[in-house]
């Protein structure tokens, strides 16, 4: 591996899938926590159906699925404090800002886009 590592890269992880339809949400969160544990500056973005992942009072056991949503509480231990949710996606789904984690910032399309473009690498799940 090369020696001139650019350790100051910023990572954006975009979530676009609802939490329990497939493993995308869990695998995005796993990736975010690993990036955090390597002290990479990482932000989480929730867009489209991805906003369902942060809505409070969900019961995964009702549909026989392992609940990964409580793992979101680990984000703060890895200094992942930038968590952005698209306001328009909430509105389109008639969802209120009732979340199961703190630190969420609900943003307009314009600001959401601005924040996203501040990152060097974007992963989409």
């Amino acid at each position: 591996m090369s020696e001139n590592k650019s350790r100051d890269k910023t990572i954006a992880i975009i979530n676009t899938h609802a939490p329990f339809s497939n493993a995308a949400g869990k695998e995005a969160l796993d990736a975010a926590l690993i990036f955090g544990s390597y002290e990479q500056a990482t932000s989480l973005f929730f867009l489209g159906d991805g906003v369902f992942q942060v809505i409070g009072d969900q019961n995964a056991s009702a549909i026989d699925i392992k609940d990964y949503l409580k793992t979101f509480s680990a984000l703060e231990f890895y200094d992942i404090e930038n968590i952005y949710v698209c306001q328009q996606s909430l509105t389109e789904r008639n969802l209120s800002a009732h979340f199961h984690i703190n630190n969420i910032q609900v943003l307009s399309n314009e600001v959401f886009s601005q924040r996203l473009h501040q990152h060097n690498v974007i992963y989409r799940f």
Binding site: M1, S6, K9, I11, A23, I34, Y123, F125
Partner: protein, 125 residues
């Protein structure tokens, strides 16, 4: 100064996006771009399935990855957590000890962090 490209494959071998990924690797090699690694995550881990047999008139994804690895030394990193979730393992208890093709290096999300950090450009498919 040589370009360093990292690729993240998240789609199964029968997906057209996987074919695109393979074509992208070949085009990069032809253009003198250095492929520092391909990371297989989500359903992309199924590309490493050793015993998957695809009809001969279909695109032979595994053979392509094997060739890229053996002839061009393209490193193929497999996320073992995502692989085990989908039935792939290098620690099976039956007569075969692994159902993962030997062209793939068993690794974890830490490798994704390394690749992301070392690459000048990251492409996710």
């Amino acid at each position: 100064m040589q370009n360093r490209l990292a690729l993240v494959v998240t789609t199964p071998p029968n997906s057209n996006l996987t074919t695109t990924a393979i074509n992208l690797v070949k085009a990069a090699l032809d253009s003198g771009v250095s492929i520092i690694g391909v990371f297989f995550y989500q359903d992309g881990v199924l590309n490493a399935a050793k015993y998957l047999s695809i009809p001969s008139d279909e695109f032979q994804t595994l053979a392509q990855w094997q060739q890229l690895n053996s002839e061009y030394n393209v490193p193929l990193y497999l996320c073992i957590t995502a692989a085990e979730k989908r039935g792939l393992s290098d620690e099976l208890n039956n007569h075969e000890s692994s159902n993962i093709d030997s062209a793939f290096t068993v690794s974890g999300l830490g490798e994704l962090v390394e690749l992301t950090s070392n690459a000048e450009r990251v492409v996710q498919l």
